[in-house]
């Protein structure tokens, strides 16, 4: 729980500093402390002490950020849901976590079956940022990612997990935020990458700049870099893929750090982007939600450090207290230079998927090392380690893909597409690369053409927007490989979206 104490200190010590810039409005750490205290007081008045998991509607406002800290001070976890995601899916999340209380800053809340704390309409109260004593194995948040069976998969993260993350980043001499830093916070709070983009600025007294809902985010980011002179950028690689045609017009000397994560960073674009940021250190971070955001990074430099495999920048080495292990199908370690599945061990590992023993038995294993049992998470990412100890990314071991940084199980899309279809035909979801180098989703249907409106309307009620395919193709007969499997690679060629 040390990081919660550090948050208290930082918020108190930087009272006059700006903490957030939302839609051109600045808020100070003092404003933040007031909002936190109001929400905290409401939580203690309304919520039973035994209720640890509290829903949070992730609007783009100071109350939503303050809610996270208020819950942490009370030793409770936030269960975030995106207001633009279908209500049915969000309600499912609350059902799975047995969440009875929801903090919602919206003018009117749609979660009428829950006890709602309307965080934007609370009474004033004294500032109280002193954390409660809480055991480190209590949960700090639960995030839901796409699951293969049509149900989202919950990843619980404890206070100890977050403490270990903060510890590891503090131990890194190359990365130090200061109170004068201006940091980009472009992520939805249901996306685990957001944890580092709000937590590290808050711990350092820096200011975060958010992207208003409805803004064209690529241009808004550029506007912030240019007009607000951002110094710290944390992004998914697809952002620079979309900005690439405009690189010649970008020169941002104020940017000190640029961290990438949530997808493969390609070396050609990394070099070009690096030219736009003449005074910047670039970090290529790696880490799954199950391991509390980051597990390690590669310090990229366009001249001296540009190690890559198949054009994808290395993911480097594990951070403090984290262990990387590359294994074969039998969970046995493979030799240097041999590709296998990357597994992660150490204090940032999740206690396991939420109420999902079946999945836990597959995704985690324990291995004896120097007489001690070490628990490992199997990432599903194929990697190898080189002679210098750097890890290089090769690809995915399964049908999970990344769409705009979000992890998507293609099987979940297929599940929802088929479940509403009157025609019982084969449907395959595919990730297709568009002419800007970004992945988009396509749905291939083995049939003569028919009206898919109903299928798509259904998918839109079941999944967040980024999971609904943007392209449909009817194929009379799916191509198959020699061993009888659908040839996904060939199927992708039907999607001509170049």
């Amino acid at each position: 729980m040390k990081f919660v104490n550090k948050l208290q200190e930082s918020i108190e010590n930087h009272a006059a500093h700006n903490v957030l810039c939302i839609n051109n409005v600045f808020y100070t750490y003092r404003d933040f402390a007031i909002e936190i205290s109001k929400i905290r007081s409401a939580v203690t008045n309304v919520v039973d002490d035994s209720e640890k998991l509290i829903g949070l509607v992730t609007n783009d406002d100071i109350q939503t950020y303050a809610s996270i800290i208020a819950l942490w001070l009370e030793g409770k976890a936030y269960v975030p849901v995106n207001p633009t995601t279908p209500k049915e899916r969000n309600t499912k999340v609350f059902e799975l976590t047995e969440t009875k209380y929801v903090i919602d800053s919206s003018e009117s809340s749609i979660y009428e079956d829950h006890t709602v704390i309307a965080s934007a309409a609370l009474d004033d109260t004294d500032i109280n940022l002193k954390p409660k004593d809480v055991s480190g194995d209590q949960l700090a948040y639960i995030l839901f990612t796409s699951g293969t069976t049509g149900l989202p998969k919950g990843v619980p993260i404890t206070f100890d997990n977050v403490d270990a993350l903060v510890n590891a980043i503090d131990a890194e001499p190359e990365f130090n935020l200061t109170p004068s830093d201006r940091c980009l916070q472009m992520f939805e709070l249901t996306f685990d990458f957001s944890v580092v983009t709000y937590l590290f600025p808050l711990l350092s007294g820096s200011c975060m700049y958010t992207i208003p809902k409805g803004a064209i985010k690529y241009f808004y980011i550029f506007k912030l870099i240019k007009e607000q002179k951002l110094t710290v950028l944390t992004m998914v690689p697809s952002i620079i893929n979309y900005l690439r045609p405009y690189f010649p017009e970008i020169n941002a000397p104020d940017v000190r750090y640029c961290s990438f994560g949530g997808g493969a960073l390609h070396s050609d674009i990394a070099k070009e982007w690096s030219d736009c940021l003449p005074n910047c250190k670039i970090f290529n971070y790696y880490g799954p939600t199950e391991f509390t955001v980051y597990s390690g990074f590669y310090p990229y430099h366009k001249e001296t450090d540009q190690k890559a495999h198949n054009g994808i920048i290395a993911i480097g080495t594990p951070q403090k207290d984290t262990l990387y292990l590359v294994v074969d199908e039998n969970n046995k370690e493979v030799a240097i230079g041999v590709t296998g599945e990357l597994c992660l061990g150490g204090p940032q590992i999740t206690p396991g998927y939420w109420k999902n023993e079946e999945r836990n038995a597959i995704s985690f294993f324990t291995r004896e090392e120097n007489g001690k049992p070490i628990r490992y998470y199997k990432t599903g990412d194929l990697c190898f380690k080189d002679e210098e100890g750097d890890f290089l990314y090769v690809g995915r071991a399964d049908f999970q893909v990344k769409i705009r940084g979000y992890r998507v199980e293609l099987a979940e899309i297929e599940f929802h597409a088929k479940s509403k279809s009157e025609k019982k035909v084969n449907m395959v979801a595919l990730d297709i690369t568009n002419n800007l180098g970004n992945a988009e989703l396509g749905l291939a249907i083995e049939s003569e053409e028919f009206d898919t409106t109903e299928i798509f309307d259904h998918m839109k009620t079941k999944m967040p927007g980024y999971m609904v395919p943007t392209h449909v193709r009817f194929v009379k007969e799916f191509p198959h490989s020699i061993n009888g499997k659908i040839n996904r690679k060939e199927l992708k060629t039907y999607f001509d979206i170049q």
């Binding site: 064209i216 808004y220 979309y242 705009r404």
Partner: protein, 79 residues
């Protein structure tokens, strides 16, 4: 090319990216008014408009584009 012609060509770009025609394009239309017009499709629409008019937008112009009217004005200045 007059304003109507520009608007109709812009509409074609929207239709080809968004795959539907359930919208009216006026000078005041913003992303909120058109189903499917968001960050990603905006980038595709911009690239489609650039192709069909044979122009190349500047990032500075794109950064301050808030509605269809802004888009049309920028196209006019490039033609």
């Amino acid at each position: 090319m007059n304003k109507e012609e520009i608007l109709s060509k812009v509409k074609q770009a929207f239709v080809s990216v968004l795959d539907h025609e359930n919208f009216q394009l006026t000078y005041e239309t913003t992303a909120d008014d058109v189903d499917g017009w968001e960050s990603i499709t905006h980038m595709m629409i911009i690239s489609e408009v650039e192709k069909s008019f044979g122009i190349k937008f500047k990032l500075m112009d794109l950064m301050n584009m808030n509605n269809v009217g802004d888009l049309i004005k920028t196209i006019e200045s490039e033609l």
